[in-house]
Structure formats: structure tokens, C-alpha cells
């Protein structure tokens, strides 16, 4: 074919190498995959900077502001951790589902229903007034997980029974969840005409670091709460489930090769429902930790899009539960600092660009670049 190259006779410069992409045969080494991910992050920050300067902002100022306002000192870092807690739990929720190629985009709604479930424990009340803190908190966590799991059950069931696309059904459930919570906030538990419930009793609050400032003065003013321990425990639980249990093996096999899983006798439909419920339960727990650890009442604006950021967290962490923690802290910082940045869409834009670059970078995970010398004619 070489003789058919047009313009071959003309003497003009030709790049002395072909660049070819070939499918990778072996597994990537961990540092290679880390390098690719970091490169994708750098590229996305550069693209973000470009867009920022297009709208007349100063990207370096914005970035350094984000860094300072989220990791500058122990006080803001503690606030960053507070934002990271729901992200860890939702990142885990997404990781579990995505590992099975089950696209649960409904973590936001499951988060809201989790908050609702935790609230009914206090507001109906299910636990008698004046119960000790451990009763309150364990029952609230349980109810949050149950309600989140219920919200995940429905799309899971529809997927298993009628093959309903779970992306759309879970998304629709998000909108329904917001309206559901709003009904209770506006109509049932409205406190003095405000769109929020009454304050929960102290026993239903997750203890914060600052509550121990009498014993350890350094903790004064630090808002990080016990939800962090919940989240870290769940990280280990999810890791164990996914990588050390029979069920996790089934989940991973279905994700990698549903046909093989089917031939191996794994019940895919049952697993679709169960994984959706597990995913929903984790997201629900995030809802509980947010209202019990941060706002201490049920109200409308409890999530700056945790459910959607969680998707990116899971993807950036390559669905690895331990990496979810690190990525969540980074994104917690972005959310915390992003509140003060103008225009307000910027954190969302940066998140979107990061996800785009990550998916694009997957190409390098699946293919390797080869430089091939051109043959001299």
C-alpha cells in the first residue's frame, strides 16, 4: 500500500514516526494507572482554567483560593472532612453498583430518603423521647439505611423484572424524593411556618470533635463528627464484601461478563435487586449522617449535589473503596471552597470536566501508544 500514499513524490516534511494505538494485552502496573489518572486530573484542571479565563475569571486565583479555603488550616480542613463524609458513603454506594455495571444515578434521592428515615425516628417519634444517644443514633442509622434501600429497591426490581433502564428510573426517583421530603418539610413537620422541622434533641446528634473540647482543648471549634467513623467502617465493610466475599465475587463477575456469570449459575436478577438495595442503603446512611451530624433537623437544602459528585468520586477512585476516601476529601474541599466562588457554576463545571477527562483517559488504560519509525523509501 505504501506506493498509494498521495503526495508521496513531493518532498515535504514528514514526521519520522507513526503513532499507533494498540490494545494492551497485559494488566497495567499500579503506577501506570495512577500516572494516567493524575495526567487526566492535570488536563482537566488546565481545561477548567481555560474556560475560567474565557468568562473573565482568574483561574490561578480561583484554584489557590479553593486550596486555601479547604486545606489551609485545621479548622477548614475539619469542615472539608464534614463534606467528605457523605461523599465517602455515596462514593461507596456508587462503587458497589458500578462494579456490577449497574448505573445507580439515584444516590441523591436515596440520600434524601435516608434523611427522611432518620427524621421519622425523632419526629414521629419511633424512639421514646429522652432515650439515650446510642439508642437514637443506632435506630436512626438503621432507618436511614432501610429507607435508602427501599428507594433503591424499586428501580432494582423494575430492572430485574421488566428490564427498565435504571439510569432513568433512578434519576426520576431523585425528583420524586425531593418532592416527598418537601411535602413533609412544608406541611407536616413545618416549625413555625419555616420550611424545616424542629431541632432534634441533643441525644440524636452525632457527637462532634468540638464536643470534646473540655477534655482536649485542641478540638475546640472542629466540626468533624462521628459520621466519619461510620463512613470508614463502611469502607472496610464494602471492601470486604466486594473483594473477599462470595457475593462480591458474583458482583464482579456479573460486571465483567454477565454471560459467563449466567452460565456459572449466578442469579443476575436477584443480584440486581440486592446491589441496588445495598447501594441505596449506603446513600441513605449518608443522609442520616448529614442531618444528624450537621444540620440537626430535616430541611430542604441538605445536599449540594452529593449524589452526583459521588458518581465522579467513585469513577476517579476506580471503584476502589480505599481510594474513595482520598478522592472524597479532595472533592469535599472543592464543594466547601466552591460555595464562595463566583460564578457559582464553577465547581460543577470542574467536576464535569474531570469526569470527561477521566473517561477519555481510560483509552490509555485499554490501549498503549507505540511510536513506529517510518520506513525510508
Amino acid at each position: 500500500m505504501t506506493n498509494l500514499v498521495p503526495g508521496k513524490d513531493k518532498k515535504h516534511f514528514r514526521f519520522p514516526f507513526h503513532i499507533r494505538f494498540e490494545p494492551r494485552l497485559g494488566e497495567l502496573k499500579w503506577w501506570q494507572s495512577l500516572l494516567i489518572t493524575l495526567a487526566a486530573l492535570v488536563v482537566s484542571l488546565l481545561v477548567g482554567a481555560l474556560l475560567l479565563s474565557l468568562v473573565g475569571g482568574n483561574p490561578w486565583k480561583a484554584y489557590s483560593h479553593i486550596a486555601k479555603a479547604s486545606f489551609g488550616d485545621i479548622g477548614v480542613f475539619s469542615d472539608t472532612m464534614v463534606k467528605a463524609i457523605p461523599l465517602i458513603l455515596i462514593g461507596l454506594a456508587c462503587s458497589v453498583a458500578f462494579r456490577m455495571k449497574l448505573w445507580n444515578i439515584g444516590a441523591e434521592g436515596q440520600f434524601f430518603l435516608g434523611a427522611f428515615g432518620a427524621s421519622i425516628v425523632v419526629l414521629i417519634p419511633i424512639v421514646p423521647d429522652g432515650s439515650p444517644a446510642w439508642v437514637y443514633i443506632s435506630v436512626m442509622a438503621l432507618f436511614a439505611m432501610i429507607f435508602g434501600a427501599l428507594w433503591g429497591f424499586l428501580p432494582g426490581y423494575l430492572k430485574a423484572r421488566f428490564n427498565v433502564n435504571e439510569v432513568i428510573s433512578t434519576l426520576m426517583m431523585n425528583y420524586i424524593a425531593v418532592a416527598w421530603n418537601n411535602f413533609f418539610i412544608y406541611a407536616v413537620w413545618s416549625e413555625g411556618g419555616f420550611q424545616m422541622s424542629k431541632m432534634f434533641p441533643k441525644a440524636a446528634w452525632l457527637p462532634r470533635l468540638t464536643d470534646f473540647s473540655k477534655q482536649i482543648p485542641e478540638f475546640r471549634g472542629l466540626t468533624t463528627h462521628v459520621g466519619l467513623i461510620f463512613a470508614l467502617v463502611m469502607v472496610v465493610v464494602v471492601w470486604f464484601l466486594l473483594y473477599r466475599s462470595r457475593w462480591g465475587y458474583e458482583i464482579r463477575l456479573i460486571g465483567d461478563n454477565p454471560k459467563a456469570a449466567n452460565y456459572a449459575g449466578i442469579q443476575i436478577k436477584k443480584n440486581v435487586i440486592l446491589v441496588m438495595m445495598l447501594s441505596g442503603g449506603l446513600a441513605g446512611l449518608a443522609g442520616m449522617s448529614e442531618i444528624s451530624g450537621v444540620v440537626h433537623r430535616l430541611q430542604g437544602a441538605i445536599s449540594p449535589g452529593y449524589g452526583f459528585t459521588g458518581i465522579i468520586v467513585a469513577w476517579l477512585a476506580k471503584l476502589n473503596p480505599y481510594l474513595v476516601v482520598i478522592v472524597s476529601i479532595l472533592f469535599g474541599g472543592l464543594i466547601l471552597a466552591g460555595r464562595e466562588i463566583q460564578p457559582s457554576g464553577i465547581p460543577k463545571l470542574i467536576q464535569g470536566i474531570i469526569l470527561v477527562c477521566l473517561i477519555a483517559s481510560d483509552y490509555l488504560v485499554r490501549n498503549r501508544i507505540r511510536f513506529i519509525r517510518r520506513m525510508e523509501d
Binding site: 468568562v55 428490564n163 439510569v167 434519576l171 425528583y175 412544608y186 457559582s344 469526569l355 473517561i359
Partner: protein, 322 residues
């Protein structure tokens, strides 16, 4: 609570869903799943409004909206077609990016004031037909009439023309299409672009005609996702898309109107006396999307047809695929 007015408004609001669904049908017929519609619509709505504020020309706004959404759709095209990445995640990321750009560039738009909109028009003579004339041909935005025209054209294009046949071939069996000399990659790029154009048009239709203005994310309020549901319900057929879109438009209007009268069907209207029940009404369009999805998916499952066979599967030349 006049049923004719609700249906008339349903046709108007349904036009937005119609455009978005048609775009999705084109893209998915070519085998590329489209979850980025919501983001592209929001971008389109912002671009249309913003350009109209600056230039005073809504048609120019509409054009820019379509081009902007078409342009951004090519990110999705590149990632899924050339790089062969997962179409679900890529579509989601497109929605994030589209939303982000729309919010950043639309920061101060909500205070922009009154702008000139796409004109409305009543068709002479035909509008005199009882009921139907009122619903379909009275005081509608020009874009609504455009919708009537596009559906049969799209249908004819998909089922009765050569490029339409190529489009279906690429979505059903890309390797066979390739062996017949159809450029699978180029075809998919083109129809993802077409989907972008339609989504941008849908967005512009919102902000310049149906519910004019820029209300950041509430401008689309999830209509892009409803459109994605309608694509499945329509079984990738433009005419069914039209029915579904108008029905959903009417439902959205009904939800608003049902809270108005004091008497409903001869009884005390519970939605009037308990205004908070409105929250349950607000759930209806989304709940209905799920129901419609169940119907669409179930019938597709039973008949073993519907979705283009290669939908969601990246095509890599020379590799064994469908």
C-alpha cells in the same frame, strides 16, 4: 381547568420534549446512547437566551443554541466513537459539563429583563375547526408548527431514504454496514451532532418560546431525562415520540391547573383545600416517566424488538462484535 386549554398547552410544552426525543432517536438509531440531552438542553436554553438578550434576534439565538449544543455533543461522540468508552458514563459527564457551562455563562442572565421571543401565530381557516383547531393551530409558537413538520420528515427520512437506511444499518449491525462501504464512525459522529442540534433546539424552545426566561437549572427541570425515557417509550419511532411528548406536555400542565378550581368533578377539590398536596402532583410527571418506561421496556422485551441491536456498544473496526 378547561381540558382544551390543557391540551393546547400540552402541545406547546410537549414540543420541547418532542425535539429532545427526536434528537435522541437519531443518535440511538445510529447506536450511540444519549444521556447528555439534559446538559445539552440546558446549554441550548442558556445560549439562546443569552444571544437574544445581546442581539435582540431570537432566531439568531436559536441558531447559536443549536450550534453550541451540537458542538458540545462532539465531546460525547469523540469519547464514545473514537475512544470507545462507556456510553452511559460519557453521556452523564456530558450532562455535567453542559450544565456547568450553562450555569457559569448564565450567571447574571436571570436579571436580563424582557426580550423578544419567537413569534406566535394562529393559522387562518384551520384554526376554525372545532376543538382540534383550538388545540393545534391557535396562538402557538412557530416552533410548535415546526414540530408538526419535522415528525413526518424524520419518519420519512428514517424509513424511506437511503441515508436513513444507512442510519438504521449502523445502529443494528455496524460490521455489516461497514462491509457495504458505509463509514460507521462518520455516520455515528453525524447523528450525535444531529442529536446535539435537536437538544439545543429543545433548550432554545424553552427559554425563547414556551416558558421564556433563564432560571438556571430549573429551566429544564429534568425534561432532558424525561425525553430519554420517551425515546424508549417511543421505541425509536418519531410518530410515537410525538404522541408521548404531547401527552407528557399535557400532564405537566394538568399538574399545574388541577390546583386551581374549588370544585373538581363535582366534589370539593382536595388539591385546592390542601395546597401542600401539590408536592404529590409534582411527582406525577416523574412517576409517569417510570411507568411509561415499564410499558416501553416490557413490550420491547415481549416482542424481542425495539432497541437498535448495537445500541451502547462501541464499534471497533476489525474486532468481532455484533
Amino acid at each position: 381547568m378547561d381540558p382544551i386549554i390543557i391540551l393546547q398547552a400540552g402541545v406547546a410544552t410537549g414540543t420541547v420534549l418532542l425535539f429532545a426525543t427526536l434528537g435522541g432517536i437519531f443518535s440511538e438509531r445510529a447506536g450511540v446512547m444519549q444521556l447528555g440531552i439534559e446538559g445539552m438542553m440546558l446549554l441550548g436554553a442558556m445560549a439562546a437566551y443569552s444571544v437574544t438578550v445581546t442581539t435582540g434576534n431570537p432566531w439568531l439565538g436559536l441558531l447559536v443554541a443549536m450550534l453550541a449544543a451540537g458542538l458540545i455533543s462532539q465531546i460525547h461522540a469523540f469519547i464514545t466513537i473514537t475512544l470507545g468508552a462507556d456510553q452511559v458514563v460519557s453521556g452523564l459527564s456530558l450532562t455535567f459539563v453542559g450544565t456547568g457551562i450553562a450555569l457559569v455563562f448564565g450567571e447574571h442572565l436571570s436579571k436580563a429583563g424582557v426580550i423578544s421571543l419567537i413569534p406566535k401565530y394562529t393559522v387562518p381557516f384551520i384554526s376554525q375547526i372545532p376543538i382540534l383547531g383550538k388545540i393545534f393551530f391557535t396562538d402557538h409558537s412557530v416552533l410548535v408548527y415546526l414540530g408538526y413538520l419535522i415528525v413526518p420528515l424524520a419518519s420519512y427520512f428514517i424509513y424511506h431514504t437511503r441515508p436513513g437506511m444507512h442510519l438504521r444499518a449502523v445502529g443494528e449491525q455496524p460490521s455489516a454496514a461497514d462491509s457495504l462501504g458505509i463509514n460507521v464512525y462518520r455516520t455515528r459522529y453525524i447523528y450525535v451532532f444531529v442529536c446535539g442540534l435537536f437538544s439545543g433546539l429543545a433548550g432554545g424552545t424553552i427559554s425563547l418560546a414556551i416558558s421564556p426566561g433563564w432560571f438556571s437549572e430549573l429551566t429544564t427541570s429534568g425534561q432532558g431525562w424525561i425525553a430519554v425515557g420517551l425515546i424508549i417509550f417511543s421505541q425509536w419511532d418519531p410518530t410515537r415520540a410525538l404522541v408521548g411528548a404531547y401527552a407528557f406536555g399535557a400532564l405537566r400542565r394538568l399538574v399545574l391547573d388541577i390546583q386551581g378550581p374549588t370544585i373538581l368533578l363535582g366534589m370539593r377539590n382536595p388539591f385546592y383545600y390542601n395546597p401542600y398536596w401539590g408536592f404529590f402532583l409534582m411527582m406525577l410527571p416523574y412517576a409517569f416517566t417510570i411507568i411509561v418506561l415499564v410499558i416501553g421496556s416490557y413490550s420491547a422485551m415481549r416482542k424481542r424488538l425495539g432497541a437498535p441491536a448495537a445500541l451502547g456498544i462501541p464499534y471497533i473496526r476489525g474486532e468481532r462484535g455484533v
